[in-house]
Symmetry: C2
Subunit: 194 residues, 2 copies
């Protein structure tokens, strides 16, 4: 055994994640990634192989540390009846804070969906899987909130809520007020289904 890695991989990926999140894959330059992670090119290439490798790691970290923790109350063993409302309100709160990272940058994966790198097959699948995961969590949350709603109606309501969450993410950077209206519309739909 020789020298051991001095930096924390997860920490470096988190730092890179923020850069990709804010600037997108193509505009996240190696110098910017160096500055954010505190690593030199050589270390980055040694640890992740390529810019793309680092991006993939960042996406994995985003799913594990950002997306899924937020979704957990909706997918846990026992789901509280108001978990879906808490989720949407929590998201609204995050997007509401003017100048916050979330309100300025939305969702890493939704941004990616419209970016050039989305022509890549693997990336497409990642984003599509993310949408499915989001939809599933929302559907489970709706079942706990509205146990008497027929399955097909609940699934349609989940489609609407999922779409509205996606649109809030897609819009927030450019039209924060519009993004909040999307989330309010989702909360309204759920209230109306009671």
């Amino acid at each position: 055994m020789g020298r051991v890695q001095t930096f924390d991989t997860a920490e470096a990926v988190r730092a890179a994640r923020a850069v990709f999140w804010a600037h997108g894959y193509e505009d996240a330059s190696i110098p910017a990634l160096e500055a954010a992670t505190g690593l030199r090119r050589s270390s980055i290439y040694h640890a992740f192989g390529s810019k793309r490798g680092l991006f993939d790691a960042a996406v994995g970290s985003y799913l594990d540390e950002v997306v899924r923790p937020r979704l957990r109350p909706l997918t846990a063993e026992r789901v509280e009846p108001d978990a879906i409302l808490d989720y949407l309100r929590g998201l609204r709160g995050a997007l509401e804070r003017a100048g916050s990272f979330a309100s300025e940058n939305g969702c890493l994966l939704v941004n990616t969906a419209g970016a050039p790198i989305a022509h890549d097959q693997t990336v497409r699948k990642t984003v599509a899987d993310y949408r499915a995961e989001l939809h599933h969590a929302i559907a489970v949350g709706l079942r706990a909130h509205l146990p008497d709603l027929p399955d097909d109606r609940r699934d349609r309501l989940a489609d609407a809520c999922t779409g509205l969450v996606v649109s809030a993410f897609a819009l927030t950077r450019v039209d924060n007020a519009g993004a909040l209206r999307s989330l309010d519309a989702a909360l309204d739909l759920i209230a109306a289904a009671d």
Copy 2:
């Protein structure tokens, strides 16, 4: 008067528009724009000043030739009761055709919303205005379809439909089926409000 411009400006802008639409602002290279328009750099820079100038022209052309024609039946003097349904179904039809330009590339402005260039103030406003225009047209269409619906309820329904249209555009490149579900959810909401 000297030599007159040999190419058709509107035609060149249309060609450039397709490049920006498919690849995004930052990944639309000058060589690609030259190839698409059939113009040399010098002509492009002479006519539009910069890549950004060409992009702005492309966005204007997109609004005038793509967005507003589609929205016209919703904003005309007389609005047919089913105009809003026709709009959503027409959009669905366009996104449904696998491999079509629309299904592969969504909306130029929604893609732009998540791209790096969206940090530019002017671009932000353009996209926000677009969303407002879309929302207004949808609200007018809903008024013709559901004249008895109270104003506040109609406005909320318009928020939901607008958001779902945006999410369909945001998703289609990466998850076409998910995009269609968003539009179906919008059609469902309108049907349920009858």
